[in-house]
């Protein structure tokens, strides 16, 4: 790899760092772990993205924002390819991304429990309380398993009484 090629890829990553997720606009697509790879080809850059949820309606917008950002940075032409495997995990959100989520008022996801390490109880399972992103109290309750987007659930703090969203660990 030449120095020139390396710098083009580095510049692409810098440009992608500025592309915000349309539904969680506190984080970039890089913070969220959506960008898996940037590859340089003779005919342009290939940005490899991974979808968060199968039905995430933001997928198309994210793809076109990514291409726009690369072109605007003078690094085009670019194309986006989708890579499904391995499946995206909230563990891929960077430490910086989790900090930004908390600042934005969304409780960040805890670590994902690996498949098969605990027996899955379908009913009657206990859920750990999600700490309030506002006052850090662990005295909270879940209001709804689903939130304003596929990746979040709704909660309420029983101390400061504020409702808040939680980025689900998957």
């Amino acid at each position: 790899m030449t120095t020139v090629a390396a710098s083009r890829i580095d510049s692409a990553w810098s440009a992608l760092n500025e592309v915000l997720d349309p539904e969680v606009p506190a984080l970039s697509v890089v913070d969220l772990g959506l960008v898996r790879e940037v590859i340089e080809h003779d005919d342009g850059l290939e940005i490899v993205l991974t979808p968060t949820y199968s039905g995430c309606p933001a997928t198309e917008v994210i793809s076109s924002s990514v291409i726009d950002a690369i072109v605007a940075a003078g690094l085009g032409p670019a194309r986006v390819t989708m890579r499904r495997a391995p499946a995206w995990s909230s563990d891929w959100i960077s430490a910086e991304g989790k900090r930004k989520l908390l600042e934005y008022g969304i409780a960040p996801p805890g670590p994902v429990i690996a498949d098969g390490t605990v027996p899955i109880r379908i009913v009657g399972r206990r859920q750990a309380a999600v700490p309030c992103p506002r006052c850090a109290s662990a005295h909270t309750e879940r209001l709804s398993a689903f939130g304003s987007t596929a990746c979040k659930s709704l909660h309420r703090c029983l101390d400061c009484r504020e409702p808040f969203e939680h980025f689900k660990p998957i």
């Binding site: 949820y53 199968s54 039905g55 009657g124 209001l143 709804s144």
Partner: protein, 257 residues
């Protein structure tokens, strides 16, 4: 109005379409709850689950289009087939009914889909395995959510229990189709594409017994009735569902957002 596309009867393609159409038609039915659910949280939940299912079907239909050798894309497969070329089991096309009916159908199907996705992670088709890896996480969440509601309603008030029993009595008649094998399953198993549907029966019964036991609902008696949706012979409800789902693409061919 544009004419329908015809699908070659290759068994491995049919295997993919059965799964894709199960997700697509269930997603369409759940989407009907948007704006109509008993509480706001469930309106959001049902719409979210519908989105997941439609997303899964889009991935599967895209794959089926590539494997069909006809160059069909996901939209052509979703909107331009005739009723007889849809391969979903009849259970998913039944009208949405009341909330108890929707919850219990979701328990039945999320459990079935979860077991299916678990096995499809080992598919010889790498793309199908990748779709399954993603969808499995979603199906687990759907199953937990539906099971929680089944317990609240089944072990709830006299009214909610009565509605659950009525719903389960109807739904159960359509479950044998989820576990019947035919030449399509034989071809898929031989190719390592995915499991024969019959192989899901034992683990499905085990998980359903756990959920229904917790919900204090009895498993209904076996029936000799057999539905035939996955062979293209659908209930009287399917045509109306397709008329609504296909209307825009038929009236405005190739229309896009």
């Amino acid at each position: 109005m544009i004419s329908s596309i015809k699908i070659p009867p290759a068994p491995e393609l049919t295997y993919l379409l059965r799964l894709a159409d199960t997700c697509l038609i269930l997603g369409q039915r759940l989407g009907e709850w948007c704006g109509h659910a008993p509480i706001l949280e469930e309106d959001i939940a049902l719409s979210n689950m519908a989105l997941d299912l439609i997303g899964q079907s889009r991935a599967l239909l895209t794959l089926a289009g590539q494997r069909s050798g006809q160059g069909y894309d996901q939209d052509q497969l979703a909107f331009l087939r005739d009723e007889i070329d849809y391969r979903n089991p009849t259970l998913v096309e039944l009208p949405r009914g009341d909330f108890a009916f929707t919850v219990l159908r979701n328990v039945i199907l999320a459990t079935w889909l979860k077991l299916m996705w678990e096995r499809l992670r080992d598919s010889s088709d790498a793309e199908l395995a990748a779709i399954a890896g993603k969808a499995l996480k979603e199906a687990r969440y759907h199953q937990q959510h539906a099971a929680d509601w089944a317990v609240r309603l089944g072990d709830g008030t006299e009214e909610s229990r009565r509605r659950c029993e009525t719903a389960l009595g109807t739904l159960w008649l359509y479950t044998p189709e989820l576990f019947e094998d035919d030449a399509v399953d034989a071809a898929a198993t031989a190719a390592g594409l995915g499991p024969a549907w019959a192989h899901l029966h034992e683990p499905w019964v085990a998980e359903m017994s756990e959920i229904l036991g917790e919900a204090k609902l009895a498993i209904p008696a076996e029936s000799t009735f057999r539905s035939t949706g996955k062979r293209g012979l659908h209930s009287e409800h399917m045509g109306y569902l397709l008329a609504e789902m296909q209307h825009l693409q038929r009236a405005y061919p190739g229309g896009a957002w």
